[in-house]
């Protein structure tokens, strides 16, 4: 990929141009289709042609999932496949609507279209994330793995526990508060994406909160309380850095939770749609 070239603008937006050309061709063909066919539908000649084109494109879109996991495959570059996947994914909505003659209701056949809309919209959201979020990720330093993060977090917590061992109640209460700050709740992997703060105090907030502690801490514990403060700030800083990263990483994944499973379900719905229309000889 050239400098400043994204998956959207790959090869001078080649796939965008191809998809626009296909879109125009489809619109023109549909115009003539409507003139010759007052009652368009999937069973008409044009409707069937749209159906077969849509099925072919859908197969290629699904093949992308196989292709991107196949590292030894030289059948087109992965970037081209992705660019094709994005643009023709959107085109699929138009082809499907034309196949159905823009007539939808409550049926297994229309269900395929509704699922397709969710799949395509989730894909568009995913594309938006992939284009914009990685740049934000760089702001939060080197990537931290889960294992490393857990290891570091346990170390910090253990050190806080170690420092606070056999200390005064004020000291221990503060240590517990530091440990509890920003601890993940239920399904936090999902909710983190919508949080602006993570229950982790900033440096100034922390110093504001320990004003009373500083007065009440016994003199002999003041040196360790300073160490506790250093550890607390280390913990908060590390948490913020990691959670900022994970918030972005999870956004980069969450759309797939709809996109991929519904694509698989869509395959089944399309298969059943085809079987029904063929089985009942309705075409």
């Amino acid at each position: 990929m050239r400098k400043n070239e994204t998956i959207i603008s790959l090869r001078g937006s080649l796939w965008l141009k191809i998809s626009i050309a296909v879109f125009i061709a489809l619109v023109i063909s549909y115009f003539f289709y409507r003139i010759s066919e007052p009652r368009p539908g999937g069973g008409t000649t044009f409707g069937l042609v749209y159906g077969f084109i849509g099925l072919g494109i859908f197969a290629l879109l699904m093949y992308f999932g196989v292709r991107k996991r196949s590292y030894v495959n030289n059948f087109g570059t992965l970037k081209d496949w992705l660019s094709f996947h994005i643009y023709f994914g959107v085109i699929m909505i138009i082809i499907t609507a034309m196949h159905a003659g823009f007539d939808f209701g409550f049926s297994i056949h229309s269900l395929a279209f509704y699922i397709m809309i969710i799949v395509v919209v989730s894909g568009i959201v995913g594309t938006h994330f992939y284009l914009n979020l990685p740049a934000d990720l760089e702001k939060y330093g080197d990537e931290i793995s889960f294992a490393f993060a857990d290891s570091e977090m346990n170390t910090l917590i253990n050190r806080i526990k170690s420092v606070s061992k056999e200390k005064s109640a004020v000291f221990q209460k503060r240590a517990e508060m530091i440990i509890a700050s920003g601890m993940p709740g239920k399904n936090e992997a999902f909710w983190i994406m919508f949080r602006k703060k993570y229950g982790v105090p900033t440096e100034s907030e922390y110093f504001e909160s320990i004003k009373d502690d500083v007065v009440n801490i016994p003199k002999e514990e003041s040196e360790d309380f300073q160490k506790l403060t250093v550890l607390a700030l280390q913990k908060f800083d590390f948490q913020r850095r990691f959670l900022n990263q994970i918030k972005i990483k999870n956004k980069l994944r969450i759309w797939l939770v709809l996109h991929l499973p519904l694509s698989i379900v869509l395959s089944f719905v399309i298969l059943i749609h085809i079987l029904i229309v063929v089985y009942y000889n309705g075409i």
């Binding site: 009652r39 857990d150 999902f190 850095r241 939770v257 379900v265 000889n281």
Partner: protein
């Protein structure tokens, strides 16, 4: 200039294996007890910023801040590092490996080793503190929000939904579209038509399949033409589940499929019908009248075949005279209009058959004065008229006759001859009929046999054109100048095209004028059914 440095940590608490590899595009590697340091060393004695390893164009250096040993000697100032140098900070041993030129190397490996007894550390760690999976709880893949869980969830939802959709009345959710109005009663009963899925709507040519055809269980369908090459199945033309309100309204393309190159059984070209029709406007042939030909075999003559286009009906009629302004009526001068004789049927399609009694008698009456009375002669066969006269004479003309039976018979015969002479000299049968009449003989009159339909291959609705659209009859039938009985006063195809064309808007669909299934009907059309019978049918 950034250097790439690989840091390998060997930690006793992690089974003394290489557990992490970091790559830094930085020229400074920080070492300390702060978790944000590049090399994070966990020990109470180690400072937050304990030391750093720096790389520049002149080489690789250790820059200590806290207690640091280089090759067993404590260093306090910035010191140059060589390949395999050992740095010791607290319990950690850091080995610097420079495979290439140490001054120019861009790939330096730093091994970090914890000099602690592994078994002791692990045991101590387990005893002292629990190990919490803290950040792993933010891992979307390990949460319920992962692709596998959702794939399973959606598949289960779909299977449950599909099961629900295929049960009872919900079955219609499998329907690819609403049924036509005529079949809407079966909307919730798919099996009414889909009795045998694969063969449900197979070709009608197969007698076995025809016997079990779901459409034919209700519809009595006649074959389109005995000589047709094949009989298409019903759904070829009547597309159900297609928002098709009127199922009988099919497309021209279904007709054109055969009629664009019409062949008959055996594959030869059709000779009885025009065999290249693709539309009404350009390729449909001129209309043809069906006329009884020799030996009663119908012959068809196109309206543009002026030479042969002759009305051979044996009757005399001058339209011009009848439509004149000063026509002599039974009482006074009057003006006739077309519907004076040609009335549209109740159905609105064709005109009612013309009869003498209904349309002619008012002006062309058969009232004749005889010396025994004024008689209204019946219109019909002269033999019947003769019997009528004989009966009248026998009852009304023999009053006071005295004589023998033979004399009476002779009297009646004489009277009959006189009456017929008066009749056939007063009433000119030949005015309207082709007839031969000689003295003493009964006139021989050829039966008119006026056709009830001229264009028998097409249907037409007169009421729609005259009553609804208020078209005058003469808009299509040019009769005002017609003086000859042989004139056929039917509109040509061009007359129809004035409205029925794409540019003018009126439809020119084949089925507008042509019936594919002649005289087909529903099988259960008996009278007085109850609603229950209809619903259960």
């Amino acid at each position: 200039m950034p250097f790439e440095i690989t840091v390998k940590r060997y930690l006793a608490s992690e089974s003394a294996e290489e557990i992490k590899t970091f790559k830094f595009n930085s020229s400074v590697i920080s070492i300390g007890s702060d978790a944000n340091r590049a090399i994070y060393l966990e020990e109470k004695e180690i400072e937050v910023n304990h030391a750093s390893i720096e790389l520049d164009d002149s080489g690789c250096f250790i820059v200590p801040s806290g207690k640091t040993y280089l090759n067993k000697d404590q260093v306090t100032n910035k010191s140059r590092l060589k390949n395999n140098d050992l740095i010791e900070i607290g319990k950690y041993k850091i080995t610097v490996l420079m495979p290439g030129d140490p001054d120019k190397s861009s790939s330096i490996i730093i091994n970090v080793e914890e000099d602690v007894d592994v078994s002791k550390i692990n045991k101590e760690s387990e005893d002292k503190y629990e190990k919490v999976e803290y950040f792993s709880r933010y891992n979307l893949v390990k949460s319920i929000f992962n692709v596998r869980v959702f794939t399973l969830l959606f598949l289960l939802l779909f299977i449950a939904g599909f099961y629900f959709m295929t049960k009872g009345e919900n079955e219609k959710a499998l329907s690819p579209g609403p049924l036509s109005d005529a079949h809407s009663l079966f909307e919730n009963d798919c099996k009414k038509c889909h009795v045998d899925s694969w063969n449900s709507f197979s070709e009608l040519s197969d007698d076995n399949l025809r016997a079990n055809h779901p459409c034919l269980s209700c519809h009595n369908v006649n074959v389109h033409n005995d000589n047709e090459r094949f009989t298409p199945n019903c759904v070829s033309c009547h597309k159900e589940h297609n928002d098709n309100i009127n199922l009988s309204q099919t497309y021209n393309k279904f007709c054109i499929k055969c009629h664009s190159d019409l062949t008959v059984k055996g594959g030869s070209k059709s000779v009885n019908y025009h065999n290249k029709i693709i539309d009404f406007e350009s390729t449909h042939p001129e209309f043809a009248v069906t006329r009884a030909g020799e030996k009663y075999k119908d012959i068809r003559i196109r309206l543009d075949n002026k030479k042969e286009l002759i009305d051979t009906t044996p009757i005399k009629l001058n339209h011009k005279v009848h439509l004149a302004d000063d026509l002599r009526g039974p009482g006074e001068i009057e003006k006739l209009s077309c519907d004076s004789c040609h009335q549209i049927s109740e159905k609105g399609d064709y005109t009612v058959e013309i009869t003498y009694e209904k349309d002619c008698e008012r002006c062309h009456s058969l009232d004749v004065y005889f010396d025994y009375g004024n008689l209204k002669i019946p219109h019909g066969d002269p033999k019947i008229i003769r019997e009528f006269l004989r009966q009248k004479i026998s009852t009304e003309a023999i009053g006071g006759f005295k004589g023998t039976t033979s004399e009476l018979r002779k009297f009646v015969d004489t009277k009959l001859k006189e009456s017929e002479k008066i009749l056939y000299s007063t009433v000119k049968c030949s005015e309207c009929h082709i007839s031969e009449y000689g003295q003493g003989k009964l006139p021989v009159i050829e039966k008119p046999n006026i056709p009830s339909r001229w264009l028998s291959h097409g249907k037409f609705n007169h009421a729609l054109h005259t009553n609804t659209l208020r078209l005058s009859c003469t808009s299509c039938h040019e009769v005002s100048g017609s003086e000859k009985t042989t004139d056929i006063l039917l509109p040509s195809i061009d007359t129809c095209k004035q409205c029925h064309s794409e540019s003018k808007g009126a439809t020119s669909d084949c089925v507008l004028c042509h019936d594919y299934h002649k005289n087909s009907e529903l099988k259960f059309l008996e009278d007085n059914k109850t609603i229950k019978q209809i619903v259960d049918k």
